[in-house]
Symmetry: C2
Subunit: 339 residues, 2 copies
């Protein structure tokens, strides 16, 4: 009945080497101030000499804390969410927490699937982009018995805590801006095919504000469809906007990625930006300020969302903050040359 052990050095081995009990070794690692100087020294020597690496799965099981956080983002590659992840990781890694990262590919069902899978890891906290989830996903998050932080959106009814900003207000501000600058025929360009609720928020906000500021004007929207989110899609969006709505004098893009593509396409066609056609982006990528004309866009707190979400998680996991907290990090309009 003997089982194949992991045949790696255990707490037991270190204890034997040091001539103390396993318990003392465990204390020496986790609460060194409760152990005498002399035994501490012996234990540390033994750890080094045996090459001991604590097995965190065993620790997890015994202590019921995994020292992990699950993070769910729509995408990592070339996205603003990579910065959020970076901020989150920077805050959590310094406290010994490691991140499980999952890409939902902007798909609510895939998000649900990932939540189910990650729950088996018993994360000590969960961070998720967005406030729209499937009913099952929402139930799992609410019932997970660990702090949950939703991000990148805004709602009055978060599952638990919230760190984000209002996408609606941001687009409203953009429409206000282009209206004040005298543009008369705005067209919205985004990816509306996927189940990305932030994109939907932006589009709806566009429609509403356009109705308010441009009474009688038709609502113009173009969709990148199967092209998804890419520079090539942005180029195609410009083409679509110009063909379907030739009167367009300003293109409001749901992402700087689209805006970049649209700007490059306009330039290759000899369309003057912003004189013949103005372009606005969303996200304020580093590239955007370097383009010429520099892109007018919405600057979002990409990194800060990750940092603050991490800090919130930490304080909740350590029982310092009992209350769910909603944090509005806001946005700012970076008015530059393209509109």
């Amino acid at each position: 009945m003997t089982r194949r052990s992991t045949n790696s050095v255990t707490l037991h081995d270190v204890a034997a080497h040091a001539g103390v009990s396993p318990q003392t070794v465990s204390r020496a690692i986790r609460m060194p101030n409760l152990v005498s100087e002399s035994t501490l020294a012996v234990v540390r020597t033994s750890i080094a000499e045996t090459g001991y690496v604590p097995n965190l799965a065993a620790s997890n099981l015994a202590s019921n804390r995994s020292m992990t956080v699950a993070a769910l983002v729509p995408a990592v590659s070339y996205s603003v969410f990579a910065e959020t992840i970076h901020g989150l990781d920077a805050v959590l890694a310094s406290k010994g927490y490691h991140l499980f990262i999952g890409s939902t590919d902007y798909d609510a069902d895939r998000e649900e699937e990932l939540i189910r899978a990650f729950l088996g890891r018993r994360p000590d906290g969960i961070i998720v982009v967005g406030t729209e989830h499937t009913p099952a996903a929402r139930a799992m998050l609410a019932g997970a018995k660990v702090p949950v932080v939703e991000t990148w959106s805004w709602t009055d009814e978060p599952i638990d805590s919230l760190v984000g900003f209002s996408n609606r207000e941001a687009i409203t501000a953009v429409v206000d801006y282009v209206h004040s600058r005298g543009y008369r025929h705005p067209t919205f360009a985004g990816w509306l095919t996927g189940s990305d609720s932030r994109a939907l928020d932006r589009r709806l906000a566009f429609e509403q504000r356009t109705r308010e500021l441009y009474p009688g004007e038709p609502i113009r929207v173009v969709d990148s469809g199967a092209d998804g989110i890419s520079i090539a899609a942005g180029r195609a969006l410009l083409d679509r906007a110009l063909r379907e709505h030739p009167e367009t004098d300003v293109l409001l893009c749901a992402s700087d990625i689209f805006a970049t593509g649209a700007l490059l396409e306009a330039q290759s066609r000899g369309i003057a930006v912003p004189d013949r056609l103005a372009i606005c982006g969303f996200g304020d990528f580093e590239l955007s300020r370097h383009l010429s004309p520099a892109l007018t866009t919405v600057s979002t707190p990409n990194l800060e969302i990750g940092r603050r979400a991490g800090e919130l998680l930490l304080s909740r996991m350590h029982g310092e903050t009992a209350e769910p907290t909603s944090l509005d990090l806001g946005f700012s309009l970076a008015a530059r040359d393209s509109a």
Copy 2:
């Protein structure tokens, strides 16, 4: 002596609910074909009704398999490595493996630290960018008793397996190309301050090939230094190159990010590209082909490295491939308009 349990549903609870042994529930989950149809149905009902979520930490401890893979990359935000991670995750997630991702920030000491921390999670496999590590890091990787895949570089002495390409050959190909196109005064631009061995490889290859093809010509190199890797750094590099080496007629950038910045800076200064100054990049970002002039660059198998590394890990973790494997995925020169 009773301990506070995790008070979540366990295998035991499900077994009681279903009127079978815990072992049978475990089998029903992991090897359903070894369980009769009827009991399987009962067990599945019980799982659903109790809302059971397996505790993977316990599973890990008992089976000595964590179903996790540790991935170490220099950076995630806006980097080619995000694509590699994406490819890796796509392959591994479908088999139930989850990823621990760590950012080394191009720092070998930080890499060592992360390896030490991740080893406590007992990953079933490790993937790491680069073949240069601190001696301690190398020793840990070699002694980890799990498959290790190094990536994005090339060496004749990998720790275990290798999926990458030769950065030296890639830069050599670029120098050959610009030489064949008649450029006479190449300057290399990169970030040489950090401990990024791929950047060093590229720089050394540049120096060697330049000596061979341009005898008597001085070796021109500019460093982004504290600016790191960004578009702004690329702009500064162009400035530096032109001031320190005004004879430069082609700028070989160690990344498309630099090349993009250099191109935009040249344009804002009214410097004709490629006539007055040609520019080459490295990495073939999506943006690069859309710039005008389109960027001549080295196309690297970003996504494919992740996929193949994942597949290699899978076959090694499942004991199908015993032998360490080295895979040269190569590169290609995307000759476009900027050089």
